[in-house]
Symmetry: D2
Subunit: 429 residues, 4 copies
């Protein structure tokens, strides 16, 4: 298969071991990703952000293929048993393609709103391991042990840790693709970095005090690529993933699902209701078959129908979503406000909501997304720099001006979420 | 409203008369366009092509705003009553935003498959004129005559023909946006042209033998912009809109809908079936309210459910679509083949299909998309070029090397569509 | 060597046979190309077009490397003796890098103004074959026969014609690089085409009635790439290479050099005057050593000094250039004007010039650049398209809508060049 | 004038007060900038970086025009006497165009190598104030006080400090253009930021404790634009301006000029030698007329001729430059090395050089470029953020995650510069 991708240009999977990719793409479970948007509700804010998890899956597999080609250029320094074999390449590219196959509607949003239900990683595992799925059958046809090995890789486990790091690590193929893809589709130009230069700088070093090979970067060529990768990710978090209106919309949908749960637990009837949603809300689990029937379209169909629900809270919340009467947010700037200040603010907003006849819990809340843009634990990427006539390995933060200053710093964007009717009374003291 | 568009960058509608745009964007009917993909099934071939008609509507309105700003720079040569007023600008931008609001699921595909039902232009008119729609209410709140005037513009009628030409003409805002947008999302780089330079070259000339002002281009600056616009459109037709697999998929869906019609006409029951689809198939019309409930998600939901339909043709066609077992195409190259050659080929393929137990009519067909990349009738864009110390007006084909050679030429891509099981027997004589 | 090119991104020549490239780049003759602008005087019109022949040489070598890598993917169908060997790859990349090393100041302009002097191809040959040049020494150090073989390739001769076609042919590496490079630096976006897709579509077919392998294109994938390549070239000719002000400036410089010749032939002294220029003008040849001392800076230095020349024509022409008092052009549009019309016009302008005290020959002329955007002779690129279960080979014009309509058509832009003082009297009848 | 710029696209200066721009562009002094490369010797490392100060001057004027258009949208909150008038706009755009007109050959390099000679700012002042220059004459023709007022602006002085800040400040038009331009021509993609969004976010606030208006940014929209601007600049410093080979080349040229000074001070003759260079080296000054004859071409012409100089140091240094036998650098990574360590290293390298027969001072040195990527003094850009129903003004570092962590941090890249022959003995202890 050879195709055109707006992010990576010409993409092809034509020779073994990559011919597994077209077979996996044709499965029902992977095709389902076409109906799940990569960025959940962000299209409400960024109209271009309508891309699905399907094109991201292709992109991640493509980046993995290029990364493997680079590893093959530099793995000759390793003992043969530690190198990238055809079999390992096949596992890696399958893991890249399938790493998110278990996502539910609106991606992360769905699992966040149902905290007791299985997470998307668990659904991914079930899809790979269930003998009923087409994905499983394609994998098993290659090799009976493949589903298990791909699951392990997706979980970040491999006897060669440097290979696990390409699926899940500081600069893994998932991040490499989603940063570029989300930037292309939102139009947020800050989310760019130089993938070609980053891949070209990859080396296999040996981590301090260990003898297993580790992913490393040739620092003279590659340090700016790593720095701009970390900063691109930081910008995308600030601008897109933590965008106030996108976060408020997600809070909005969570509130709808929370109300749904209360109603179902009270024995109220809500229709239509896909079996998987009923099961997930009431039993914190569902059958795989039912789960795979869920997608963004189904969820929007429900929200649309629920505008006529009997419960006034559920119907009002759905109507607000349908007519884009989204929730507002309030942020506090400058010197870090105390917990008391936030508690007071929340309390005041809830009192105002109650006075206005709105349920305080479903209409007012605190949202507090959090990320560490650059952390540096063990097993992390090393940077190789010339030291006399050899190379010496450093932690990125010890040789990078900007990473040294960002290391371990916490990015938090706390906001009060509240209905727009309260805006005036809340802001004007 | 100020937002980020991946195609046009910073887009804003902040001052009158453009403040009508955010009000229209918030309506239920325009929001529905978020759930209708611009390119129908092309995402099956170009994974990035998942953009909706919603972002195209914003883009068309943005281009219209820029075009009006250009017209305002050059309309001083006209008598005051022929210039762009604030009121006319409001109508134009509303027409640009709403020109496609009547599209059904999968855009053009839906209306092509139901040839007797109202076309999308008719649905657009109904949406604008029905007092029940939010779009109508927003327009009427501005001015009771606005819905009617916007409808006229969309239909290409205005007392100042040069204004109608911006909504529907050789280089109208619809084309300006969709070419750039489809290129960005498919990754087909050929579909680019230089919008800034094209707009900057716009002038208001007077057409030969008339005294009404006409859209014209300053030829010294703008001729290459027009040429590359026409060629970009030609490339997009060749590469995307007429792509063999995209066309085969559309033929596939048409075949499903044709089968649906036969079943319903026979009194067979098919479930689920949205009321609008039943009505459109059986009565060639539907209520506006039902029609507006249709979107891509609903259609895919039906196709998914119909894989279990009792009718073996319907269920098989839906299963093929779901598992991407798409139809194949056969094209004949070189010297123009005769009609007889095509008739023979079709006959042979249908015979082979019947022998293989497949219904010939629903499984084999001819597809023949057709376009004239550059035509030149009356009322067309004029090109102004210096002639001694004045300007003289020419038809584009008389002063452009490439347009002179393309004028009136017909682009046709005829193909046989057939099921992949027949490939070997069909090709190997 | 690994470097960053604004056109191709990451460019590297790190493994044999490409390590010859850095050695050639370091030679004095190739470094001299840094001081010769690729587009001559076009920077007077396109301020960004200040790139040199040096970066174009690197770009051409890079495209050749990618093209060879593609040929290596598909040459297995050929008998071993017809395949690309390491030795052939080395010759090809050297030919790509060195194909223009003989250019004089302001590129084509210099040789056009001195029609009896050796052309740049001849200087290239001398540089490669002279034992005194560093280029020659680097080549000979690899293989004593290399200079000769590289010369042959640059001249379009090789025992395997498909290899000669990569250096000089419809889609050779010279064109591939200069179109993209000139587009990037001028900002003329029309000059883009999809290099990755074009290279990927390359195949080795067999030309009709021959048994030597020929460059071919997989038509299903690659036809649009070829079409857009031809159109990109057409646009660059129309917009940049034939730009009226750029052409008028080139005519201006030719006029200066023509006047220089007259003066020298009359025995007048002009200073400063680099030895190579004196020799070229008076003897139609120069020593290689002197020739290699010429560059753009020297020429501008002369023009600057000649503003004080005794000859009033020479000094006036140089003053006009220095203060950008450039010549104007007049073009005739619409129906093809007759030769008489042009002769009359030239006559009238010369009369007006003489009346205004200007030398008619050095101040008025006709400029008539000419190009055939798409021709189709023998030995040309073939297009492979499926025919039943095999492929059949076609001429591009027989299967391409747009190339079929452009084939053999002549692009001519004739213009009168005249001094701006005559504008009013010339235009107002 | 309307032209195509590869960085900004369509650029035009067509209506007053911007019609001053074409008049200034046509002057001899501004045209001279075509022959001075923006990045000095960086093209030795980045082959695309061949752009001149001329296109940067146009770019800076273009950005100023857009910035003024934005200020005109928001200056209505100021009292009329503080707003941007046509006259002020004319001064601003002239200052933007002319801010670097005094640069000598190879830009900064030339003045760095001649520390006692007038700096480029002083030459700019002389060009503007001398009644002999065409620039002066063009300015005076508009208004006799214009040269003086433009000089003041370039020096950062204006009765309205917010206007001075647009010529010289954190986000001035000089930086806005050179970051984007240098990124485009080097191909270093990290140097991008979103100019449209940055300009759109501009507001006129009032600085804390003052009553003069100050440039401010609407923080909700514009903070990421400022952050990415600062980071783009940091990346360009790290990647391009402080690139080891570019810096080593600049050290190389400084060493040539230092040697030239010694020879001239000793009364030795060096030819050729432009009068301005002799005067600058011996008298630390030169006549304006002589100075304006200098450009990159002249300097390279000298270096080329000096390869035959009698002095062995001068001729050897020039030969090394001509044949790209550039100097090497050595950097120390990890924990900050002590001053003693550097002193030792320098001493050792000089000893090795002396032993190898090379003059230690002209062949070995320390290079220590330094920049503060983000400082925050008084009079700086303010950030406006919502505070209840009003806006409150903050320092960028108090509301930006990344700027808060970079503020006041010093970027230093110290390196030993030494001849490549010493590499082995220096590195292998």
């Amino acid at each position: 298969v050879i195709l055109r991708d707006p992010v990576h240009g010409l993409v092809s999977f034509e020779a073994p071991p990559y011919t597994l990719v077209p077979a996996l793409l044709a499965t029902r479970e992977v095709q389902r990703l076409r109906r799940i948007r990569q960025l959940g509700l962000a299209a409400l804010v960024y109209p271009g952000a309508e891309h699905s998890r399907f094109s991201h899956a292709i992109g991640a597999a493509h980046v993995m293929m290029r990364l493997i080609q680079r590893l093959e250029q530099v793995h000759h320094e390793l003992p043969p048993e530690q190198r990238v074999t055809g079999e390992r390449a096949r596992e890696l590219v399958a893991a890249a393609l399938l790493h998110d196959v278990g996502h539910g509607p609106l991606s992360h949003l769905f699992e966040d709103a149902l905290p007791n239900a299985p997470c998307h990683e668990e659904w991914t595992r079930r899809i790979l391991m269930s003998s009923n799925t087409e994905v499983h059958q394609v994998l098993v046809r290659c090799d009976p042990g493949l589903p298990e090995r791909v699951c392990e890789l997706i979980a970040g486990r491999h006897s060669l840790p440097y290979l696990a790091g390409t699926v899940s690590g500081l600069i893994d193929v998932d991040r490499c693709d989603y940063l570029l893809r989300d930037a292309h589709f939102t139009g947020v130009t800050y989310g760019q970095f130089d993938l070609a230069w980053l891949l070209r700088s990859l080396r296999l070093g040996v981590a301090e005090g260990q003898n297993a090979p580790a992913l490393a970067i040739d620092g003279v060529k590659g340090l700016p690529a790593i720095e701009s990768f970390v900063l691109a990710r930081l910008f995308m978090f600030q601008q897109v993933y933590f965008h106030k209106a996108a976060r408020a919309s997600e809070w909005h949908v969570s509130s709808i699902l929370a109300r749904l749960r209360t109603l179902l637990e009270n024995g109220d009837s809500v229709t239509p209701l896909p079996p998987a949603m009923r099961a997930l809300v009431l039993n914190a689990d569902a059958s795989l078959e039912d789960y795979l029937r869920l997608d963004d379209g189904i969820l929007w169909h429900c929200f649309d129908a629920w505008t006529h629900a009997r419960d006034p809270i559920l119907s009002d919340l759905c109507r607000r979503l349908q007519s884009r009467k989204l929730f507002k947010t309030l942020e506090l700037y400058g010197a870090e406000p105390t917990e008391e200040r936030w508690a007071e603010l929340l309390e005041r907003a809830r009192t105002l909501a109650a006075r206005a006849g709105m349920d305080p819990v479903h209409y007012v809340g605190l949202d507090e997304p959090r990320d560490v843009p650059f952390d540096s634990g063990k097993d992390r990427l090393r940077v190789l720099l010339p030291d006399r006539s050899r190379h010496k390995s450093y932690a990125p933060e010890d040789v990078s001006f900007v990473l040294g200053r960002l290391r371990g710093q916490d990015l938090v964007r706390r906001r009060l979420v509240y209905p727009r009717e309260l805006r005036d009374s809340l802001l004007c003291d």
